[in-house]
Amino acid sequence: METLTLSDVEQKYYSDLFVYCDTDNTKKVASNGRVREIFRAAQLPAEVILQITELCGATRLGHFGRSQFYIALKLIAVAQSGLPLRVESLNTVKDLPLPRFTVGKNEQEARHAAVYSDSENQGPYSGVIPRPPGRGHVKKPPPLDTVQPCVPTADAQPDTTSPVVSPSQSPPTSPHSWRKHKRQASGGNSERPPVVAGAVWTPFGETQSAPVSGDGMWSPPVQESWVSFTDTPPASTIPTMHPSSIQESTTIRTVASATTANEIQRQSSNYDDPWKITEEQRQYYINQFKTIQPDLNGLIPGSAAKEFFTKSKLPILELSHIWELSDFDKDGALTLDEFCAAFHLVVARKNGYDLPEKLPESLMPKLIDLDDSAEVPDQVTSNKSPSMPSLNQTWPELNQSNEQWETFSERSSSSQTLTQFDSNIAPADPDTAIVHPVPIRMTPSKIHMQEMELKRTGSDHTHPTSPLMVKPPELSEDNKLPASIKFVAGNTVGDGYSSSDSFTSDQEPISGVVTRQRSHSGTSPEGLKAVAPAPPPPPPRPQASHSRSSSLDMNRSFAAVPAGQQQPGVVAYAPAVPPRPQPAQASGSHGHRSTDGDALGPHASTSPQKIPEQPNFADFSHFQAFASEQPPDDADKHGEVPQVAEKASDPTCSLRTPKVDPQSEERTPATVNSTKGATPLAPPPKKPIRRRLKSEDELRPDVEEHTQKSSVGAGVLTTQLSIPRSVGKDKKAIQASIRRNKETNTVLARLNSELQQQLKDLLEERISLEVQLEQLRPFSHL
């Protein structure tokens, strides 16, 4: 017989089998009993068995010597792998898996395996071999249940037989070397579920050395042993054979061979990661994945995975737990990485390893990014390198797996990214948040309002900028404005309220109002005009920017006027008011028309009479006198004006004081109309006062026979509007505006006085009411 080169695993296995068969312990196995059983278990046709026996020379010898037996076993393996039975094939077939034997031989095999895997911890792989191939689940290692029964048998017969030494065929190498060889081979063979092997062997721990059961011989050894391929061709070939041959519960044979190798390798390389998937395992998993999902980058739907893993005959609960662990992205489907992890966990579980509570690191799908994918292969290679310095054959596989890993991770990462939500909520458009960048006067001020009014009215003019041009229109404007204001009271109120935020918004309605006013005041202008020429042109007015009701302000303004420094005064007027359109007061004379205080312009169309009153602006009696000066008109106007004026003043006030509290606006008519104890009188009084003043101012132009005043007032309005616009205003315009402002001042002052009077009355009422309350209150609190 030609020499038989067996791999370590094979040798071990064979020797075990031989020992098993050699019941007589004569180193000679008769072709009977167990041998037959084994051969039958090989599930080969009878003629094949015959052929094998013939080939191995047993027929010649009449019995199976060790070598014959080994040859026979190898031939069985050859036959089982479908190769033609040739003697030459014994040594030529590189990737011959271990011969398979059916269940019937479980115990025996187990026993052999027990003997087989001596101190190496690699449990009796062969015991697993006879496992029924019937499990549809490819990778599933032999179920634990089958392992258990093996245990007792293994225990029972640890070393029942002694190997029969065949003198004719001494093994090519010493048993020791065989063993090594076998181990190496088994290392190579053990790519497949090494875990399976390891776990299977554990039950046979008694016969083996201690380490079998306790430690993670299952995977760590398996892993490492697989990693450390000391053997050459068989080892290298076996992995490649794995994927193809493993389809149907082929774990057994490879497992058996792998065990010893695993043991050795495990000892040689001690990695602490019991859950690492070796290259071969991964290959196997990948192939399994392909059977379900040809696209390696695709997903296995949950139902398919469920069917697949159900074949492993694990309890549903455990499978469920495995699923929870492995479905990393919780998408109900398994990526390749997830599938491998799940498969690995199933294998582990089948081998008796408890499922971890959390997915082990090494099983985590590399779904972070490509970097990880690059790392993984490196890690694997690094892991393998120390342990298998001589393993060159696996590099190509490794590379493949690297690529696969990379692809996996890419795919995984892509799948992972699926779960990442782009919660990019577009930030709110800041522009939308900003209502108006327009500088707004923060505090209501008459000046402001008047200014606004002026602007608005001025805007309607054809030549708003030119002071000269403004003048004549101003007259009409003034005429129109005051009258129209009355008419358009209702509209402006609403507009004023709505546009409380910005003057610009106010301007529109006001301008609209103005236009309307113009249209409405068809009659008034004429009347006014009639009156207008009468009064002499008012002397230069103090700057008209006294929108405030404060007499002090007025004083200041008036005082400033003569000095011709209205601007500073005006500016001083409304300290709180941000300098409005800095009207370029290019010329000092125009100064009074300045920004802030111009609000009063329209109203404060100070009549000539007012001028002498300027210094005594605070003296309200002037107003009274002034008002009384025009009894006929005043009376009439007052009659109708108060109501209208109030209303008019409301809108105008609102227009001018965009910031005016609408409530106060509403309150003012109430307070004006009724002297009831309205508590919030403080704020309203100011406004009503202003309004009053305004109304009075407005009234004044109307009331006065001096339509000119009104016109002037209107002109002031317009001029005030226009002044801010154009720097170079004519002195006359300025003066007119000053006059108007003064008038407005007086009106406002009068209004102020009246309101204060009301305030006093109300306070008195309040006091009286409180007194009554005190009296009515029960004395208990006393």
Partner: protein, 147 residues
């Protein structure tokens, strides 16, 4: 329906649709556990009522956080129902005033997420009692958090 009872204890029960059989129950051990069970069952009526009442309103935010079903005695019952009519009920001890509505909402959200994960498991048949360890751990952590 899933319910969590608490006093100090919590109990989680899950029931479903018309059957309303519990899918999951968890509670911190207490002597009056049975009372909590009973409370959970009775709260189902309230849940049903709320669910039917809200029917006319467009289901906002998908899952309806039913909020405080009814405060009774020493404990409050919160309800939550999913689109698939799986009800979550949490019973909390009233003395646990630190629990704000937001916290309860977040608890329900976590419950729902975990429940979804359980549903994703192909090995889980809807209607089976939930035996997921992940789910258990999540519930435990929640209960510990609030107790």
């Amino acid at each position: 329906m899933m319910t969590m009872l608490g006093g100090e204890p919590f109990l989680l029960v899950s029931k479903q649709e018309q059957q309303n059989y519990p899918l999951y129950i968890r509670s911190v051990p207490s002597d009056s556990e049975l009372k909590f069970h009973y409370t959970v069952h009775t709260s189902l009526d309230v849940v049903e009522e709320k669910v039917s009442a809200v029917g006319k309103v467009i289901v906002d935010q998908r899952e309806l956080y039913l909020g405080l079903l009814y405060p009774t005695e020493d404990y409050k019952v919160y309800g939550y129902v999913t689109n698939s009519k799986v009800k979550f009920v949490i019973v909390v001890d009233s003395s646990n005033t630190s629990l704000r509505d937001n916290e309860i909402r977040s608890m329900f959200r976590k419950l729902h997420n975990s429940f979804t994960d359980v549903m994703c498991n192909p090995f889980y048949n809807p209607g089976d009692p939930i035996q997921s360890k992940v789910f258990d751990s999540m519930v435990s952590s929640m209960m510990v958090q609030t107790c």
